[in-house]
Amino acid sequence: MSEAMLVADRLTRHFGGLTANLEVCITLERGKLHALLGPNGAGKSTCINMLSGDLPPSAGRILLEGQDVTGLDSAARSHRGIGRSYQRTNIFPQFTVLENCRLAAQSRRPRPWRIFTDAMKTRDTVERAQAAIVEAGLGGRELRKAGLLSHGEQRQLEIAMVLATDARVLLLDEPLAGMGSEESAQMVELLRKLKQNRAILLVEHDMDAVFAVADTITVMVEGSVLESGPPEQIRNSEDVQAAYLGEDEHG
């Protein structure tokens, strides 16, 4: 069941004189986890930003289930099923953990005209939020204020919010960064589960995790794709070792 969900077609992005992405092509398939690797500043986040609509590409197209979504903004893309997490924690610090996720869940059915309904009593959104919190490993901390969580907990919340939106395509920018080893291990399990009926793009520098869950790996260097293929091929590629992994550890 390899069906292409999201396709990046020759995406290019310039920042002044710098080319952060040059003709990057990536295909995300349902049921597959696609990892995007590369040295710092290679353009991975830029790529995600273009796919999610946070940043307009300088050239290239983005197709979601065959439809061109390049011109849509991030809100519209989110509505069509693209969800993302951020490398730099991006949450609602003044709200409780639950409210953070409830807002995420509410975005599926915003119901803005129902001004006489208590938002806290919209059962579907609250339940969805609860479930996402538990999945991300924050169970029991629903009523804590998000801004007062520790750094690692905030990273978990970051993921919980994406889960709550029920996105069919997940773009995860370093979800494991800042998490402890136990939480990381849980997250890898979660990723395995999530990818069953979703398409996932994972940017991550934790190689153990990447090689544990990735079905395909693309390596970028200085804005361009260096190599793309199954994990074994990447692990053994000399180019990749030189540019990114380093010789000994994963060779």
């Binding site: 710092n40 730099r88 750094h151 402890g180 520098h205």
Partner: protein, 237 residues
């Protein structure tokens, strides 16, 4: 006593009414490399911030080079030779990369100037390429390099790295470990918080493990390496 660089005794820190540190004592000597470990939310960052004057412990004392600094303002502690790389990157997005680096650069307490602008550029060539960009325009990893470089340029006696490798590519992480090793060799002390326990224990001579705001282990890193049970019990791997 004189060789004690930073010493905290019996710290109790609260956020509002929640009690985070329950009588933590912590010390680091000149030239020592120390790993601070614990799961998410156990109080590592809180401990560091309590020692740096960024949060006020309700109870306990902090000494730097033997001087009482319990109520000192953070800049005095910094000027005594302590540099801090915070978790989640503390760059100034409204300053250029160059400005971020030079704004606080200075010679060390004893006049050393080992870490110059040029040396930081050599260590992190990536920064050199983006030197006149705004700090906020850097990629996540580049920002991390910038924070580390900026801390090094204050030529500290003690460098505290709170999850300094977060977001760095494997090659870069190796580079950071190398840097820590070299500065340790030149007598600069380091405190490292990192989720990669094996790297931390390999790099440091002493390890401290925090659980729920209490020190549950304080001993040679060698011992942690050899007793995986310790890690499993306190760090849950």
């Amino acid at each position: 006593m004189a060789e004690m660089l930073l010493e905290a005794r019996d710290l109790h820190t609260y956020y509002g009414s929640s009690h985070i540190l329950h009588g933590v004592s912590f010390s680091i000597r000149k030239g020592e490399a120390l790993g601070l470990m614990g799961r998410n939310g156990m109080g590592k960052t809180t401990l560091i911030r309590s020692m740096l004057g960024l949060v006020r412990p309700r109870h306990g004392t902090v000494r730097v080079n033997g001087d009482d600094m319990t109520r000192a303002k953070p800049h005095r502690i910094a000027l005594a030779g302590v540099a801090y790389v915070p978790e989640g990157r503390g760059i100034f997005p409204n300053l250029s990369v160059r400005e971020n680096l030079v704004m606080a650069a200075r010679a060390g307490v004893d006049g050393r100037r080992e870490w110059t602008f040029e040396r930081v550029m050599e260590t992190f060539p990536r920064l050199g390429e983006r030197i006149d960009n705004g700090g906020g325009q850097l990629s996540g990893g580049e920002q991390q390099m910038l924070t580390i470089g900026r801390a090094l340029m204050t030529n500290p006696d003690l460098l505290i790295l709170d999850e300094a490798t977060e977001g760095l590519a494997p090659l870069m992480v190796k580079e950071i470990w190398k840097v820590i090793r070299t500065i340790r060799d030149t007598g600069i002390a380091t405190v490292v918080v990192d989720k990669n326990h094996s790297a931390v224990t390999a790099l440091t001579n002493r390890s401290v493990i925090l659980v729920k705001g209490e020190v549950v282990f304080d001993g040679p890193s060698e011992q942690v390496r050899q007793e995986p049970a310790l890690i499993r019990k306190h760090l849950g791997v």
